[in-house]
Symmetry: none
C-alpha cells in the first residue's frame, strides 16, 4: 500500500536526500536568468516546490547555495576532460579536434553552460566561485590542452608557436560564439551551429586563413 501510494502521488514527500539537489537545480535556473543578487530565496524555494524555511534546512545562506551550485557542477568536469586529452598519441590535431568538439558540445547544454556564465558574472561579488572554478576546472583542463599543443610542436607537427597563447586562439572562438548568441542575441545567418563553427575554426587553425597559393598584394 505505501508503495502504491508513493508511485501514485508522492505529494507529501519526505525525501531529505533529494532536496539539496532540487534546490540547486532551481537556484541555477534563477541565478542564470536574473543573477544572484536579484534572485530571492523565496523564488528558489517556490521553484523547488518548497517553502522558504526548508531551503535553510539544507543551506545555511543564499551564498552557500551558489557555492554549492558551482561545486557540484565543477567536480565531475575535470575527469571527463582530462580523459580525452591524454588519449591521443599520434597526430595531436586529432586530440585537439576532439577536445574542441567536446568542449563545444558540453557548452551547448544550457545546464552546463549556466555554470561558467554564473561564475563569470558573480566572480567580483563572490571570489570563491572564481577560485573554485579555476582550481577544479581551468587549472586541470587548460594545462592538458596546452600540453597537447606543446607535444605537437615538439613532435614537429606544429609550428614553433607559444603553446600557452595558442591555447587562447583555440578556445576563444567558442566563447565568442556563445557570448554573442547568449548576451547579444547575435547568431550566424544559418543559425547557432557549433559544428559548423568548429569545422570552420579548425580549418583556419590548422591550415591558416591565407589561400594555399598566395595571391600577392597588388
Amino acid at each position: 500500500m505505501p508503495g502504491s501510494e508513493k508511485s501514485v502521488a508522492p505529494k507529501f514527500r519526505r525525501r531529505a536526500d533529494d532536496r539539496p539537489d532540487e534546490v540547486l537545480d532551481a537556484a541555477l535556473e534563477l541565478f542564470a536568468d536574473q543573477g544572484f543578487a536579484n534572485t530571492k530565496v523565496e523564488q528558489i524555494a517556490k521553484r523547488a516546490g518548497l517553502s522558504k524555511g526548508t531551503v535553510y534546512l539544507y543551506f545555511p545562506s543564499k551564498q552557500a547555495i551558489i557555492e554549492a551550485l558551482v561545486r557540484r557542477a565543477v567536480t565531475p568536469v575535470a575527469e571527463r576532460a582530462l580523459a580525452h586529452a591524454g588519449a591521443f598519441a599520434g597526430d595531436p590535431r586529432n586530440g585537439i579536434s576532439a577536445a574542441l568538439r567536446q568542449l563545444a558540445h558540453g557548452l551547448a547544454d544550457v545546464r552546463i553552460l549556466a555554470i561558467p556564465k554564473l561564475v563569470v558574472r558573480e566572480a567580483a561579488l563572490v571570489p570563491e566561485l572564481a577560485q573554485m572554478y579555476r582550481h577544479e576546472v581551468l587549472d586541470r583542463v587548460l594545462p592538458a590542452i596546452e600540453m597537447l599543443i606543446q607535444r605537437g610542436i615538439d613532435a614537429g607537427y606544429f609550428r614553433q608557436v607559444d603553446a600557452n597563447l595558442t591555447l587562447r586562439s583555440l578556445i576563444g572562438p567558442i566563447l565568442v560564439h556563445l557570448m554573442l548568441a547568449d548576451v547579444f542575441d547575435i547568431s550566424p545567418p544559418e543559425g547557432l551551429s557549433f559544428d559548423r563553427l568548429i569545422e570552420n575554426h579548425l580549418t583556419i587553425l590548422f591550415d591558416g586563413l591565407s589561400a594555399p597559393e598566395q595571391v600577392g598584394a597588388p
Copy 2:
C-alpha cells in the same frame, strides 16, 4: 550664458555641466568593481564628490545611470572602428591585423574594457544595455570586419571560409585572454601581453598551426 555664470562665481565648485559625467565616471568604476546591484547610490555620490541627493538631480534613477553610462561610451566607438575597417584597400590581412591590434589596445584600457564587461554582466538584468551595445557597437563593428574578410575571400587572398564564423576565430582569443586574466587571474607565464598574443594569433590565423612541410598523419 554658462560662461557668464562661470565668471560670476567660479569659486571652487566644478561646473555643473560636468557633473553628470563625473557621476558616470564614478559609477563606472564602482559598477565594474562590484556589480550594479552591489553598488549603492551613495558610494557613487561620494566618489563623484557630491551628495546622494544631487545624483538624483541629474539621473532619475540608479538604472538610468548605468544606461547613460553605456550610452555615453558606446556612441563614439562606432566611428573610430569603422574608419579603420574601410581604409585598407589591398591585402585585407593588413586591415585585419590593424583592426585586431586596435581592438586589443582599446580593451587594454580599463576604462574602455569596463563597459563591455558591465554590459555582459548586467545584460540579463537590464536588457536595454545589451540592446544598446549591440545596436551601437556590435552591429556596426562586426559587419565591417566580416566584410573585410569576405572581401579577402572574394579577392582570392583567403580560402573559402565562412566569413561570419571566421569573425569569431578572429576576435575570440582576445576575449578569452581578457576573461582568463580578469575573472580567473590566469595570465601567460610571461605576463599579460596583448602584443604577443596578437602576433601569435595572427601567425596561426593567416598561416595555420600546422608546420609548413606537413608531417603526414600515421
Copy 3:
C-alpha cells in the same frame, strides 16, 4: 500496567514518565545560561536527549516549559522553609541564623539558584512566573521570617524595629553577594564564601557595626 510495558521493552530508552522532568532539567540550564528568548526548543530537546517534536508531546509550548519549570521547583520549597521557621521557640536569633544559613546554602546550589534568577529575569515577559514564585515561595517564606523577627521584638530580644523592613536588612546581603558574583563577576578577595558572608552579616545584624564602647560624635 506501566510495569508490564517496561518489562516488555526496557531496551535503552528511559521511562517515558521521566521525560518531562528531563526536559525541564535541560531547559533550566539553558534558560539560566542564555535567557528564555535566546534558547531554542531544539536545544532543549537535544540536551534532554530527544527530538524537537517529542518536547511538544509533553509541553504545549515553549512558554509552558518555563512555567512548569518554576512550578516544579517552587512547590517543595515552601514546606522546607516553613519547617525551620517555626521550630525555634526561645531566642529568635538562633532561628534567624539558621534560616539565613539555610537560605545561603540553598542558593549556593546552582540548580536552586537558577530558578529565582530565571524568574527575575523573565518576570516582565511572563508575569505568571513572578506570580507563581511569589505565591508559592515568597508569600510563605517571607512572612514566616518576619514573624520570627516580630516575635523577637515582642519578647524583648530585639529593639523596636519594623519587622517588615528588617526582613530586607536580613536577606539583602545574600542577594547582593550573589548578584555581584553572578552578573558582574565581583567576589571578595578571599573568594565567594557564603559562610564568611553570613557570619560577618550576623555580627553586624545582631550587634551593630559601631564599636562596643562608642566613640562619641564630635
Copy 4:
C-alpha cells in the same frame, strides 16, 4: 520667521543632534518593560517618533542601542557618587548614611533604576553591558564605600569587620527592597518608602538588632 515656526510646530524636524538621545529614551522604556529580545526596532522608532530606517541612521544595530543606552547612563554616575564618598572626614557613619540615602534616592528614579535592571537582565546575552557597568559604576563606587568602612574600622569607630563583606550588608537591603517591589509587587504595608527603609536599616546597621541590654537566652 523660521524661529517662530520652530516654536509653533516643529513638526518637520531636522535635528540630527537630538535624535540619538530620543532613540535611547524610547529604547530604555521599552527594554525595561519588555526586555531586549522582545522589543522590536520598529517599536523603538515609533515611540521616538521616527521610522524604522531612521533609527539605523544613528545606530548600526539593535545591540548598539542597548550598549549606547548603558554607556550614556553610566558615565555621569561615577563622579556624583565619588564626590560624596570622600567628603566626610570625621565619623564615617555620616558618610555612609549619606551614601546610602543618595543611592536609594537615585534608584527611586525609574529612569535611573532602569539601567541596572536592564544590565542585570541582559548581562548573560550581552556581556559587554555587565562589563561596562562594572567598569564605569561598580568598580568606582563600591571601592569608595568599602574604603569608607575601612576607614571607620581603622579609626576605631567600627568593629573589626570585613569591609568588603560589610559592603554587602550595607547595600543589600536596598536591592531587595527594590526587587521585591519591582518584580514581585511586594511592598511593606505602609508603602514603598525608601526613607523608612533606610532609617530602619541604619539603626540595625550601626547599633545592631539586639536590644541594648541583652536579654539572655533561656
